[in-house]
C-alpha cells in the first residue's frame, strides 16, 4: 500500500523537537528553579494534597479518635470511585459524618461539612504544613491536637 511510504516520508520530514520550555513555563508546571544551589538543579514539584491527610486533619479538628478517623479514610477510598471528581470535598464530609455515627461519636452535619471546607482546612497551620513539607505525616508534629503524641516519627525521635 502507499500508506507506508507516506508515513516514512512524513516521519522523515517531521519538524524537529520543540526547544525546552522557558523558565516561566517550567515554573507554571511546578518545576521551580532551585534557589539553594543557584538554579542549577530543578526542585521537585510541590506535592498534591493527600485526601487522607485532609481527612486526618479534619478528624483531629472534630476531636475524633484515631480509629474513627481511620474509618472515615476507609470509607472515602471505598466510595471514591462512585462519586464525581468534583464531589471530593462533599464525600470527605460525608465519610467523616458517617464514621462518627458508626463509632457512636456523632458530630453535627455542619461540623463535618465545615471542617473539610478549603477555607477552613487551609487555615494557617494547614498552609504551614502542606506548603512546605512533602510527606504529610508531619501534620501530627505541628500541634494537631491528639495526633501529636502518637506520631511515629515523634516517638522514634524521642528514643
Amino acid at each position: 500500500m502507499s500508506t507506508a511510504p507516506a508515513t516514512v516520508t512524513a516521519m522523515a520530514t517531521a519538524p524537529p523537537q520543540p526547544p525546552p520550555p522557558p523558565p516561566l513555563a517550567a515554573a507554571a508546571t511546578g518545576a521551580r528553579p532551585s534557589t539553594a544551589n543557584g538554579g542549577d538543579a530543578p526542585v521537585p514539584p510541590a506535592p498534591q494534597m493527600d485526601h487522607a491527610a485532609l481527612l486526618l486533619v479534619a478528624g483531629a479538628r472534630l476531636r475524633y479518635s484515631q480509629e474513627t478517623t481511620a474509618r472515615a479514610v476507609a470509607f472515602f477510598y471505598e466510595l471514591r470511585q462512585s462519586f464525581e471528581r468534583d464531589e471530593t470535598e462533599l464525600l470527605a464530609a460525608t465519610c467523616l459524618f458517617l464514621a462518627g455515627k458508626s463509632a457512636e461519636t456523632p458530630r453535627r452535619v455542619r461540623s463535618a461539612a465545615w471542617n473539610v471546607l478549603p477555607s477552613s482546612v487551609e487555615s494557617r497551620s494547614f498552609r504551614l504544613i502542606f506548603g512546605r513539607v512533602a510527606f504529610s505525616r508531619r501534620v501530627f508534629d505541628a500541634g494537631q491536637d491528639t495526633c501529636v503524641r502518637t506520631s511515629a516519627c515523634a516517638q522514634l525521635k524521642s528514643i
Partner: protein
C-alpha cells in the same frame, strides 16, 4: 454563639449555600449508605495493632510506636490497599525492631494474612518513616 464560644474561628456563613451544603451532605450520606450496603463495620489496623502488641508482650513504648505507625499507615497508599491485619502486624514488627525487642510471633498468620502482605506493609512503613525522619523538624 459560634463566634462567642470559639473566638479564634471564623464566623459561619449561614447563607443559602450553607443550607444547600448541609442538605448535600445528608443526600450523599444516603447514597454512601446504599453503596456500602448499610454495613459500616470497617476493619482498621489500630485495634489489631494493639492486640498484636499485647500478644507479643511488647513494652509500652513499643505499643505506642505500633499505634502511631498504624495511624501513619493511613497516609500510605500501599498500606491502604493491604489487609488491616497485615498492616497491624507490620506496625508491631517495626515497633519491636525500633525498641530493640525480640522478633514478633507472627500473629497475623492466625488471621489468614500472607507473609508477603506483611512484608510489603513493613517496607512501606519503614520507607515512610525514613522519609519523615530525614526531613527537618517542623517549626
Amino acid at each position: 454563639m459560634h463566634r462567642a464560644r470559639r473566638s479564634d474561628a471564623a464566623t459561619l456563613p449561614l447563607d443559602d449555600a450553607y443550607f444547600r451544603r448541609k442538605a448535600a451532605v445528608v443526600d450523599a450520606e444516603q447514597k454512601a449508605l446504599r453503596l456500602l450496603g448499610f454495613d459500616l463495620e470497617t476493619p482498621t489496623c489500630h485495634r489489631l495493632a494493639l492486640t498484636f502488641a499485647h500478644a507479643a508482650r511488647c513494652s509500652t513504648r513499643a505499643a505506642r510506636i505500633a499505634a502511631a505507625l498504624a495511624n501513619d499507615a493511613l497516609l500510605d497508599e500501599t498500606c491502604r490497599g493491604l489487609p488491616a491485619a497485615a498492616v497491624a502486624a507490620a506496625a508491631v514488627d517495626v515497633a519491636l525492631a525500633a525498641d530493640d525487642q525480640p522478633a514478633p510471633s507472627r500473629c497475623a498468620a492466625r488471621f489468614g494474612v500472607a507473609d508477603r502482605d506483611v512484608g510489603a506493609a513493613r517496607t512501606a512503613l519503614v520507607a515512610g518513616l525514613e522519609r519523615a525522619l530525614a526531613e527537618p523538624p517542623a517549626r
